[in-house]
Amino acid sequence: MKRSNDNQGFLKKLSRSKVLLLMCTPAILFFFLFSYMPLPGIWVAFVKYNYRDGIFGSKFVGLSNFEFLISSGKLVELTINTILYNLCFIILGNLLAVLVAILLNEIRSRMFKKVSQTLMFLPYFVSQVLIGILVFNMLNYDTGFVNNMLGSLGLELWEPYSDPNVWPPILILVYLWQNTGYNSVVYFAAIMGIDAGIIEAAKVDGANCFHKIWHIVLPGLKPTIVILLLFALGGIVKGNFGLFYNIIGTNSLLFPTTDIIETYVYRAVTADFNFSTASAVGLYQSLIGFVIVMAVNFTVKKIEPDYSLF
């Protein structure tokens, strides 16, 4: 009895909101086709995939794909690289973004503000392919801009494309260069949101500009900083594939310091056709990422319930 009531209620709901449901249908279909349909394919991580038998016909091998990745140390290496790069990106990225936002806020000339913001966004707008070209154009041994300068000063030329140790700082610099303009926007908006009355009152009380930044602006930014940092931490095992792939590419000489989870998986899929290994790494990454996001959301909910994701 209860059950049929429920069914009726559901049908009623359905007919009441059929137009709105219909409006959502294309999106529902889209995410079904491109995000949910691949999920059963995770099974490929547990088989020894061969093309003829397909994902579900290939031989089941249990966890041996994972065992290989763990025993070879590959998984640990990739995880460490990915996390260390992301930590640097997140911490330095936010520091620089806050600094730029605060300094930009002190500048009175609107024209200067607008032009400099336009210029700072520029790197964010262009494709990652172009970023790779830009870096190569600056750093390559024969014709690069840096070597050109070094050469004209009579200094020894630099050959970064064969030295893995120089790439972590270079990649971090490129990341900062590309993203700081973008990252500073949110902070800039948050500063604008600080009550001007408080700043005026502090000035009347004799606070100077440093006092203002230290005691009003920074505390005002604190919630934004905390939230953005936490969200960024949620994605700490997700690598910035476009950046690494376009700058490092297939230069295996540089892999020890620059190979992250994404680049490894990409090569496994497109060059080695090793779908089982690729999927094992991918599944490991997705699971860890999921746990971390959950933890982050739990934390955010405690601090600032309004900002929690769900």
Binding site: S17, V19, L20, C24, P26, A27, I28, F30, F31, S35, P38, P40, G41, V44, A45, V100, L103, I107, F112, V115, T118, L119, M120, L122, P123, F125, S127, V129, L130, G132, I133, L134, F136, N137, D142, T143, F145, V185, V186, A189, D205, N208, F210, H211, L228, G242, N246, E262, Y266, V269, T270, F275, S276, S279, L283, S286, F290, V293, Y307, F310
Partner: protein, 308 residues
């Protein structure tokens, strides 16, 4: 308090109560921001300059910020050799179609999910949002696209996956949230259906949202290279612009042997120059358009950071 005022007078001299720390901050601000902004443009200037420099100068003098001898050699080569114009047309086509279809779907979904009286809004929101929490990863996605959907070497493999993302739908929801609910209510009282309310009452108010999300979609399509690199093999003659650029940069030698050699003697082929001329042509439109759409971009970042 008296003490600080006293200090103020001491440090600034007598009449004008100018805060010296403000001056310091301003100077640091101008210097730092100028320096940083210059760092952002100079690499672009070098690319531009290289594209106007002949190969012999690049080989002997190297890459400069301002070209030593101005030449259009590289651009002539690009026009003669590569099928960059076909790529242009393909990319423009993908961008226009993808942006419009994506905008249409995203705005409908964003509106419906923001309607308080829509009983399925929470479950559908979660269904969409969950995809950004957990994904199958590249390998299952690749196998599905190529073996189940048979989209290898098909432009749909580039067009479809970029149509929308959970983030863009949340962004749209945030924009819709700012529209007073009374508008929908008054439409209902006047007897308008949901579609009518959406098209004639809500959509006109969503113009800034459409501009912002359209901008993100268009940039996504214009800069697309990832799906192309996965799904478009050498069997496809014309590829999207950025991926064409990628192939030219990584296979310049192949280009030199196949096409260019027929027109120019091997010694003065401006390989570096050709790469950069391609880069300029592929990036130019977005750099030219973007100062005019910057404000939509900024509103997108600020509205999109808070959840829906």
């Amino acid at each position: 308090m008296v003490n600080t005022k006293h200090q103020d007078l001491m440090t600034t001299g007598v009449k004008i109560k100018m805060d010296p720390t403000e001056k310091v901050t301003k100077v640091v601000g101008y210097v730092f921001v100028t320096f940083y902004a210059l760092c952002c443009v100079i690499p672009f200037l070098i690319i531009l300059s290289t594209s106007f420099t002949s190969e012999s100068v690049i080989r002997s003098v190297g890459v400069q910020i301002i070209p030593k001898e101005f030449t259009l050699e590289s651009y002539k080569m690009v026009i003669k050799s590569a099928n960059i114009f076909k790529s242009y047309i393909l990319t423009i086509g993908l961008t226009v179609v993808g942006t419009f279809v994506g905008l249409f779907i995203i705005s409908m979904t964003g509106y419906a999910l923001q309607r308080k009286d829509f009983e399925f809004r929470n479950i559908i929101s979660f269904y969409i949002y969950f995809t950004s929490l957990f994904s199958a990863g590249l390998a299952p996605y690749y196998l599905l696209m190529t073996q189940t959907y048979h989209l290898k070497d098909n432009y749909l493999a580039v067009l479809l996956p970029l149509l929308m993302s959970p983030w863009l739908i949340i962004l749209m929801k945030n924009f819709v949230k700012a529209i007073p609910h009374e508008i929908t209510e008054s439409g209902k009282i006047d007897g308008a259906g949901d579609v009518r309310i959406f098209v004639s009452l809500v959509l006109p108010m969503l113009k800034p949202a459409l501009a912002t999300i359209g901008l993100f979609l268009a940039i996504g399509y214009w800069n697309e290279w990832y799906q192309s690199s996965l799904f478009l093999s050498s069997k496809v003659e014309v590829k999207p612009l950025q991926y064409t650029l990628y192939e030219i940069v990584n296979k310049t030698d192949a280009l030199r042997n196949s096409v260019a050699g027929q027109y120019v003697s091997i010694t003065d082929i401006p390989t570096e120059g050709v790469k950069m001329a391609n880069a300029v042509l592929a990036t130019g439109p977005i750099v030219l358009v973007y100062p005019f759409v910057q404000k939509y971009f900024i509103s997108g970042i600020t509205v999109g950071t808070v959840k829906g």
